[in-house]
């Protein structure tokens, strides 16, 4: 003991002064760094798309501002159909996912089924959009699992029938795919909100009071819990809506092509051999921005309208709205959703090991590992790229997030609403609108460092999710530990590393697994920022999804799903062995 008191004073005065300043300086700077990292690429990308849209494209020797891009755009055949398709698929899929989420929550609120459904659906969350689209495509095709199960005993089909799905011109396949993919996300966001200790407890108590007053469980949910729950779900909903209206992977794999959705058409124009189409594509990107912005405004307006229209029914005292039947309907709907998801996954697995599998058969004639073997031989480099990019991006995202959250606690005020909104910015702005511009800037600055460019672009999409995931756990840390440690003489960086981080080991691993899953699933950012030189499992999967071999694309889809699962298994297993004593 005396040794410490003798040697420590000599050092602490000088070194702790410097180390505190350094660490605290870094921490205090990090929210601004985060903001810069999120705003600059997105805004820079948007501006770089704005200029060509108005005709300024030195690439094509056009340096006068003109409206020719927009003229060409208005004259595109089928433009209204493209926009209608984008709007309809985005809006309907988000609405459907939202309503089914609410119904599941309402019907199973006090039942143990909610936990079981949560555990069933959580792995679905990390399936990338491309893999989900491939799986849904297998399900609803005329020769898909549903037809095979019903043929030939029920339908009499010996050859695959003339069907409508996928690629139907109403976009129903896209809606189906998007709904099945977004439903677990919204459900888990809502359950995450309800799992917060004070809010969740308060809401459950209010629900119990409502039940005691005679309300049926579903009505109690809608009248009592939803008004408090909704504001916390608003941002995830808007993110889902923005993604659904501007996504590229789902409509590319499941959607029609006469004409396709607006985002897919823009991507084709940007990639077209005729380089003058780039101006039209930039104008189209602005149109997409307007469409998505309009949808977001529509949603917010509808929210206000619903609030006004239903404010009476909140207090009209009606206890029953046919809750019994709605409950049964919800049970049927949930069973349907889960069975769809399970069936498409089973189909996926069977295709990956299938030999010959002619149409009406429900099982393949032979099973073979040939597809896995040949795919794994080709997969070495994409796999390495996927893992490397994912790990670097996630590491960086976690460090930055932890520093920002620490700055909240060091400066003793929460990060501003502006920062919280900006964190959602890359999710709300359609990626097709700013990614092309961002790529152009990256090429101007640094052409050869494709890896760095891809990591930077992935970071934009990984940061919001990692931040969301870590923020709640970080803010829930008991501040008294930090106070006691500080009062014992520990510097802020020591408090951070030795007191806060060990307590956060499990949440950090979960956030890391989530960040990895998001990074593994990115398609457009990898394709554009890497200039096609960086192949990841997802880019390969999308290329092969519309390719010739269902079996190979099934193998890639399974790899896409397996990678994030490994991350989550690690996140589940490791906290059991490390830092056990630190967990609260």
């Amino acid at each position: 003991m005396s040794v410490i008191s003798k040697s420590a004073p000599v050092n602490t005065k000088a070194t702790t002064q410097c180390s505190t300043d350094m660490f605290t300086r870094i921490v205090k700077f990090s929210p601004r760094f985060l903001l810069a990292l999120l705003i600059l690429p997105v805004l820079g990308g948007l501006i770089s798309v704005l200029l060509p849209a108005f005709g300024y494209a030195p690439v094509l020797e056009q340096t006068t501002f003109s409206l020719q891009g927009f003229n060409a755009l208005w004259q595109t055949p089928g433009l209204t159909q493209m926009v209608t398709l984008s709007v309809a698929t985005g809006l309907i899929s988000t609405l459907l996912a939202f309503i089914i989420t609410l119904m599941i929550l309402a019907a199973f609120f006090n039942s143990p089924w909610l936990n079981r459904i949560q555990r069933l659906l959580s792995p679905i969350l990390v399936i990338p959009h491309a893999a989900a689209a491939i799986a849904v495509g297998f399900l609803i095709a005329p020769s898909g699992m549903i037809s095979r199960l019903a043929s030939p005993w029920l339908s009499g089909w010996e050859l695959a029938p003339n069907g409508m799905f996928p690629h139907d011109s109403f976009g129903i396949s896209i809606i189906l795919g998007l709904t099945l993919k977004e439903l677990p996300f919204l459900l888990l966001m809502a359950l995450g909100v309800l799992a917060q200790p004070e809010l969740g407890k308060k809401l459950r108590q209010q629900h119990k009071v409502a039940l005691n007053l005679g309300y049926c469980p579903m009505t109690a949910f809608f009248k009592v819990i939803l008004p408090s729950l909704y504001p916390l779900l608003r941002l995830p909903l808007l993110a889902v809506l923005a993604y659904a209206s501007a996504s590229v992977e789902m409509p590319l794999i499941l959607g029609p092509n006469t004409p396709p959705t607006l985002a897919v058409a823009i991507m084709h124009w940007f990639n077209d051999v005729d380089l003058n189409l780039r101006i039209k594509a930039s104008a189209g990107a602005l149109l997409q921005l307007a469409v998505t912005g309009g949808l977001l405004a529509l949603w917010l307006g509808a929210e206000k309208a619903v609030k006004v229209l239903f404010s009476d029914s909140l207090t009209n005292g009606v206890r029953e709205y046919g809750g019994f039947y709605w409950q049964k309907i919800t049970v049927v709907l949930t069973a349907l959703v889960i069975s769809f998801i399970m069936l498409s996954l089973i189909g996926l697995v069977m295709w990956s090991v299938a030999g010959f599998w002619r149409f009406p058969d429900a099982m393949p004639e032979q099973f073979t590992l040939l597809h896995f073997k040949s795919a794994l031989m080709q997969m070495g480099s994409p796999l390495f790229n996927t893992l490397a990019i994912g790990l670097v991006t996630t590491l960086f995202a976690i460090i930055l997030t932890l520093l920002c959250l620490e700055s909240e606690q060091l400066s003793d005020k929460p990060i501003s609403r502006f920062t919280s909104l900006i964190i959602y910015l890359p999710l709300l702005v359609p990626s097709i609108a700013f990614l092309f511009g961002l790529v152009w800037i990256q090429q101007l600055i640094n052409n050869q460092a494709a890896f760095f460019n891809v990591v930077l672009t992935h970071l934009l999409f990984v940061l919001p999710y990692v931040f969301l995931s870590l923020a709640s756990s970080y803010r829930r840390l008991d501040p008294r530990f930090a106070h006691v440690a500080a009062s014992l003489g520990a510097a802020p960086c020591k408090v951070f590393f030795k007191v806060k981080l060990p307590q956060l080991f499990a949440p950090i691993l979960i956030a890391a697994a989530l960040g990895l899953a998001i990074s593994f699933g990115q398609y457009l950012p990898t394709l554009l920022a890497g200039g096609g030189r960086i192949a990841t499992i997802t880019t390969e999967a999308v290329t092969l999804a519309n390719g010739a071999s269902r079996r190979t694309s099934a193998v890639y889809a399974i790899m896409q799903m397996a990678l994030p699962l490994i991350g989550f298994i690690l996140a589940w297993v490791l906290p059991k062995y490390f830092f056990k004593s630190a967990r609260a």
């Binding site: 690439v59 003339n162 080709q378 050869q448």
Partner: protein, 444 residues
């Protein structure tokens, strides 16, 4: 106590210092050895350069400058067999020249064209990311028009002479446009049809169509069993060109000659109207009623496996038996060629003007043209793509490399292609595409 603590601290700090020094020395050693090796290589190549410029041999210069580098080969990656062949070629050039061939898989060659154009606009004139590109037809026409390709290199490759360029216009003209040494030939393709022999069983109204007219009648009697990929997909355009050439087989010489001329506002309507009339009759009988067309030929093959389609076509005849062997097509599939003619063309590899590794790319292109590589490529179980080398220019040893084994039952029988049709002028591709988009691009 103080003394012990002092020695402990000193020991800890000394250990850290020693560890740091060891690491630093190790790093310095590694980096300096790499730098030394690089300077040795550079000085070797520089000294070789001095020697060779004295000797004046251009190809040896290319060989020395091209060794020990990376080549980024941008090529369509939608076929596992082709990807595997490119991996084999990569291993070969690694052994021969220590070149690292990286296959950048594209879903469409236009992606690479866009890339080179973006680099040209960013004034990147010698650090391009694309070193070698698999290309022909409209993409070649675009790159050539925008001066995006390196000129006069392909005709100087040692193995180019084996393609007999003086008597073989197929290797010096790409869709009617002269290549000007901008691209080296790689392989040849002809339009082949394949069908499910269980679905098309030869009974009444279900006989195999062998001409365009028979195809129309068969499709009318068996609706929803045939379709073609959506233009501007290469295979879809090829089907439309095949239909166009066949429909004009009975036309006057004057109109037939227009197909080899550029498409202009004057002759477009006259030449293309028969095609639109034919398609108006064909579309209602197609898969999905002609309201939706699959995006690519690969998707078409998948639909045959799904038994949604009973008849399809491809440019690469060996892809069919290869797919059957991989279980991607049922074993009831058979291939054949239309009796009124098969559209044929050559595909090439080209080097962008700003490629970072021009000499290495030329070495790779030369290897791809070698008898070993061409024979390997022609093997049915590897890729089956027809070689561009003329047998009469090869030595007997080289000819022996091309001997074939017993064919697969689903493969195209030897000498099935009785008639070849040559490609029309590339400007017709655009004309057909514009017209198709206007008539059928948006489903009503």
């Amino acid at each position: 106590m103080f003394a012990i603590k002092f020695w402990q601290t000193l020991a800890r700090y000394s250990f850290c210092c020693v560890a740091f020094c060891v690491c630093a020395i190790a790093n310095l050693a590694v980096f300096s050895s790499i730098a030394f090796a690089n300077t040795v290589i550079n000085s070797n190549s520089k000294s070789n350069l001095v020697i060779n410029t004295q000797q004046g041999s251009r190809w040896q210069q290319v060989q020395t400058l091209g060794r020990n580098q990376d080549v980024y080969f941008y090529a369509w990656g939608g076929d596992a067999q082709i990807n595997a062949y490119i991996q084999w070629a990569a291993q070969q050039v690694k052994t021969k020249y220590n070149i690292n061939l990286v296959h950048v898989k594209l879903s469409d060659t236009s992606e690479a064209v866009s890339r080179v154009l973006a680099e040209k606009s960013a004034n990147n004139n010698n650090q391009g990311s694309v070193d070698l590109i698999w290309i022909n037809g409209a993409n070649f026409a675009t790159m050539s028009e925008h001066s995006l390709l390196l000129k006069q290199w392909a005709n100087k490759l040692p193995y180019f002479a084996l393609t007999d360029p003086a008597n073989n216009p197929a290797v010096t003209f790409d869709f009617g446009l002269p290549t000007n040494g901008m691209e080296a030939p790689w392989g040849q393709a002809s339009l082949t049809f394949y069908y499910d022999s269980i679905a098309i069983n030869g009974k009444a109204n279900n006989k195999l169509p062998t001409t365009l007219n028979e195809l129309l009648n068969w499709s009318a009697q068996n609706p929803g069993r045939f379709s073609y990929p959506k233009p501007p997909d290469f295979l879809g355009m090829s089907f439309l060109k095949y239909a166009l050439v066949v429909l004009h087989q009975q036309s006057s010489e004057n109109i037939k000659a227009q197909l080899n001329q550029p498409a202009t506002a004057l002759n477009t309507a006259q030449v293309l109207n028969p095609l639109w009339d034919f398609l108006d009759k064909l579309h209602p009988t197609l898969w999905r009623g002609g309201t939706h067309f699959m995006q690519s030929g690969a998707q078409m093959r998948r639909l045959v496996d799904d038994t949604e389609l009973s008849l399809a076509f491809t440019f690469s005849a060996p892809e069919v038996p290869a797919a059957v062997k991989r279980y991607d097509l049922p074993n009831s599939i058979r291939s054949y060629a239309m009796s009124d003619g098969s559209l044929s063309n050559t595909h090439f590899v080209a080097i962008p003007y700003n490629a970072s590794h021009q000499q290495s790319a030329q070495l790779v292109a030369n290897f791809l043209l070698s008898p070993e590589a061409q024979a390997q490529k022609q093997k049915a179980h590897i890729w089956g793509d027809k070689s561009v080398l003329i047998q009469s220019t090869l030595t007997p040893d080289q000819q022996a490399l091309f001997k074939t084994a017993k064919p697969h039952p689903s493969a195209l029988p030897l000498n099935s292609i009785k008639r070849t049709l040559s490609e029309p002028h590339p400007s017709w591709v655009n004309a057909i595409m514009q017209g198709w988009q206007t008539c059928y691009g948006v489903s009503q």
